[in-house]
């Protein structure tokens, strides 16, 4: 394995990024015109990167699986984006945002990356406002903020409950401007099916045109993966139906190492599962925890009556309610980080206090806030979320509390990258949720948007120049070579094999089974036994898939079953790696909760002596155990401590 070199610059934390920018090389405008870059994915990371690289003068090609770049799942982010502007005069700062993020991630992220993220956060807000993003404002005309979990300041900028949509439309507009200028060429409804290496460097991709089925080759001097996370390995998650881990997984199989795959975020406030035919879970924004209070009844008899629909939540008097987050975490209350809130909900439900028929739900109640502020204020803040809730559940949350339960939402793990966001394959970059670098073992709310845009607008456009400055003599990549031909052949063979099986089970049948294995064994509470069981079961299911799946239709048409089958084949491998990673990490941290390792109060118990590192996995071939390498995490600016949200 290539020695991991994180390339973290020397020097004091606050000066690393400035110094690094001064040290790295740049490419002249005349040479930029000769260089090609492929960007895969058009969410906040991909769209902002492609637009910025196009503005700089590179030739960019951008690919997405949807009919338009604007459909990328960043669009569904609701609550907001963090920045250290300190507009509220509440003593926020770059350091405080950095510190909250490192602590929120349970000390499993790189200090230097996180500090840089906090540093450029303010530029993001400026950039978005200049693009015409209609952030919420106060009557004086200046920007408004709200609070999110894991922070005691108000640093979250928002556009009603549609912040992700508005930021993506900003990045998409910048991208459209470059497409019109010809500096970026857009390939919608194209899916990357393989990465092509030439002499060890990333030199292109193989794609499938999702309308015609045509397998195509594209070459470039660098490839950027911005394809998001892999939460859909659980089948049910808050991710969009088409979100998948396949582009990242192909990179892994071509030699890009995968970091911390087991770090999965289970979001505490999602609409509970209602039946076996459900296709996905819907998030209710964390911003609701600004004004919503989470509770379950104190008395089991009330629980029974509510489940039997003989009593309503609003019938339960104040003294019989257990506001368990406020009780357990007085300092942060309902705004504890997501992993803490999710585990607390699971604890109450496991103890028998869940409030719906399945026993897997808790209340999120706005009564106190409505009494204090009036319904109109709550409507102005969260109207679209309340409407969304009512459409799905047929319950009016202005009158009765919402029911919520944790669901898979985000993956902190991803492709390993160095400080320059380059993977272990030269010329291959990974940005946004697709990489692993900034959120440690738990991401704070409103930080995914921040990271996607930080990487795309302000980090990658600088760092990629350092690599490309060595490529100015390289001619256009010729795709008519054995490397491209071989990759194309492998893709075509894989597709042919999928069609040849014609078994008895649909892709979704098998995906649901995988989701069940993952949720039960690699979900919110993991044990040595459950993880060992998961590995065996996933291996068996993978064999079953390749013997028993039925893919209808042909390759040469718009074939959504084929798309899903290709993605599931990869999830069936990725799920095993997640379980392996979770098994090896004999500690609890952030979203990774090993039942064996907890404090007497039931909090995650880290083992900094043995596990303060990034687990980096290298592919060794089909059905071979991957190799584990460790990147030690060195903390210079923060003191490692048990996370405390109590006082």
């Amino acid at each position: 394995m290539a020695k991991l070199d994180s390339k973290i610059p020397a020097g004091p934390l606050a000066e690393k990024w400035s110094k690094h920018k001064a040290d790295i090389k740049v490419v002249s405008p005349a040479n930029k015109r000769k260089l090609d870059i492929i960007v895969v994915g058009t969410g906040l990371g991909g769209a902002s990167a492609a637009a910025s690289l196009g503005e700089l003068g590179y030739n960019v090609k951008i690919f997405c699986i949807s009919d338009s770049p604007r459909r990328a799942h960043s669009i569904a982010a609701q609550g907001g984006i963090n920045a250290a502007k300190n507009y509220q005069n509440d003593n926020d700062s770059v350091f405080r945002l950095f510190y909250d993020t490192i602590k929120g991630g349970d000390y499993r992220a790189r200090e230097a990356n996180v500090y840089r993220l906090a540093e450029v956060s303010n530029n993001i807000i400026d950039q978005c406002v200049a693009q015409g993003v209609p952030f919420a404002r106060d009557y004086g005309g200046l920007l408004d903020n709200r609070s999110f979990g894991g922070a005691q300041v108000s640093r979250t900028f928002y556009a009603r409950g549609q912040t992700g949509q508005q930021l993506l439309l900003g990045a998409y507009a910048a991208l459209n401007r470059q497409i019109a200028k010809g500096s970026v060429k857009s390939y919608p409804r194209h899916e990357m099916l393989d990465l092509v290496l030439v002499d060890g460097k990333a030199r292109g991709i193989i794609t499938r045109n999702l309308i015609t089925g045509e397998i195509e080759r594209f070459g470039a001097h660098a490839v950027v993966i911005a394809t998001g996370g892999y939460g859909n390995v659980f089948f049910l998650s808050t991710n969009a139906m088409n979100s998948n881990g396949s582009a990242a997984w192909q990179c892994y199989k071509k030699g890009a190492c995968f970091a911390n795959p087991c770090f999965t975020q289970i979001h505490p406030t999602c609409i509970p599962v209602h039946g076996t035919q459900q296709s996905k879970l819907t998030l209710m924004s964390e911003s609701l925890r600004n004004d919503g209070r989470i509770w379950v009844p104190k008395k089991k008899e009330d629980v029974e009556l509510i489940r039997a629909k003989k009593k309503k939540a609003s019938d339960i008097p104040e003294e019989d309610r257990d506001y368990y987050l406020e009780r357990r975490y007085p300092a942060f209350g309902n705004l504890v980080p997501r992993d803490v809130a999710s585990r607390a909900a699971k604890e109450r439900c496991d103890a028998g206090y869940g409030v719906n028929e399945t026993g897997l739900a808790v209340f999120l109640d706005f009564k106190t806030a409505i009494d204090r502020l009036g319904e109109d204020v709550i409507r102005a803040r969260y109207g679209n979320l309340f409407q969304m809730y009512e459409k799905i559940t047929d319950v009016n949350p202005y009158h009765e509390p919402m029911m919520i339960y944790p669901a898979v939402h985000y993956t902190m793990g991803g492709i390993w990258v160095d400080y320059n966001l380059m993977t272990t394959i030269p010329g291959l970059y990974a940005i946004g949720e697709a990489n692993f670098s900034d959120h440690g073992a738990n991401r704070l709310g409103a930080s995914a948007l921040m990271q996607g845009l930080a990487d795309g607008y302000f980090v990658l456009p600088y760092t990629i120049g350092d690599y490309l400055s060595h490529e100015i003599q390289s001619p256009k990549v010729n795709t008519d070579t054995p490397e491209f031909a071989e990759a194309e052949k492998a893709v075509k063979e894989k597709i042919a094999k999928l069609f040849s099986i014609q078994g008895a089970e649909s892709v979704d049948d098998i995906h649901k089974k995988l989701g069940h294995i993952m949720w039960e064994n690699v979900g919110m509470g993991r044990t040595k036994e459950s993880l060992e069981k998961a590995i065996v079961e996933i291996q068996a299911l993978r064999k079953d898939f390749w013997k028993n799946v039925r893919v209808t239709g042909t390759n040469e048409e718009f074939n959504q079953e084929l798309e899903k089958a290709i993605r599931l084949a990869d999830f069936l491998e990725l799920g095993e790696l997640m379980a392996r990673d979770a098994l090896h990490r004999q500690e609890s941290c952030g979203g990774h909760f090993r039942v064996e390792y907890q404090t007497p109060e039931g909090e995650a118990l880290r083992d900094d002596k043995h596990f303060a590192y990034v687990a980096v996995w290298e592919y060794q071939g089909a059905d071979q155990e991957p190799k584990l390498e460790k990147e030690p995490l060195v903390f210079e600016a923060v003191h490692l401590a048990q996370r405390n949200y109590k006082d």
Partner: protein, 247 residues
């Protein structure tokens, strides 16, 4: 619930299409409309038939990918929602439901219920942006914007680009879509700078791509899943006319 579905099936853009009738049984009223189609598709796959192709992604009403004309209504018989948010409790046991793709000249059918909406991207590429590069922009609070203006800009910016307005309009006009973008940027000082250029370029592109003219029927507003007001069309008309008068 047991239902009869009449679904438009069309092999590809060139092939002729036709309605095919299917039955689905034991559907829970809490199932979403697209989950009901998932159930149908899973049955079809088990029978060895081709599943019905339809576009969808986020399934929470924000990505704009889902479409469908259901019993003659874009996004089905409910107000201010997308098809993915529609639930079967809006139907009755024994109902026959007709499901068609968006039908509009500028949105050709790709297969079954999926259409090509790339014309929307082309309109936005013509001018639906503010011409700023990354970096070198002023501090976000250096331009105060009255709250009412910011709120109105946000109202318009809520457009998800689904195309229900075009599919509903008897003229196949994209005026509400174009107006939403023009109006959102026109309400902000940053967007005013190139307001005239933007309105002209986007309207010209809309006309070029074969969308129809607006005759103020208001059908688009009634079917818009995000409740975007046709008052924005009035603003677009103002922007466009004043830009033309200055020519």
């Amino acid at each position: 619930m047991n239902l009869t579905l009449k679904i438009w099936r069309q092999k590809n853009a060139k092939a002729p299409g036709k309605f095919v009738t299917y039955k689905v049984e034991n559907i829970s009223p809490d199932t979403s409309f697209l989950e009901m189609l998932d159930i149908l598709n899973n049955d079809l796959i088990h029978k060895g038939e081709d599943p019905v192709v339809f576009d969808h992604d986020c399934r929470e009403g924000i990505c704009g990918m889902c479409s469908l004309h259901i019993n003659g209504f874009a996004h089905g018989p409910d107000t201010e929602i997308t098809t993915c948010q529609l639930h079967m409790r809006k139907f009755k046991d024994g109902d026959t439901i007709t499901i068609e793709p968006w039908r509009s000249h500028a949105f050709p059918v790709i297969k079954d219920l999926a259409v090509d909406r790339s014309a929307f991207d082309k309109i936005l590429q013509a001018g639906g942006f503010i011409s700023v590069n990354t970096g070198g922009v002023p501090d976000a609070n250096s331009i105060p914007i009255p709250k009412a203006d910011a709120d109105e800009s946000m109202d318009a910016a809520a457009c998800i680009g689904c195309g229900a307005c075009v599919a509903t309009c008897k003229n196949g006009s994209a005026m509400l879509f174009v107006a939403a973008r023009v109006s959102s940027l026109a309400k902000l000082p940053q967007g005013r700078v190139e307001g005239a250029r933007r309105a002209k370029a986007m309207v010209a592109k809309m006309d070029e791509l074969g969308f129809g003219a607006c005759t103020n029927t208001g059908a688009c507003e009634a079917q818009c899943p995000k409740g975007i007001s046709i008052a924005h069309i009035a603003r677009l008309n103002r922007e466009f006319l004043s830009a033309k008068l200055k020519d």
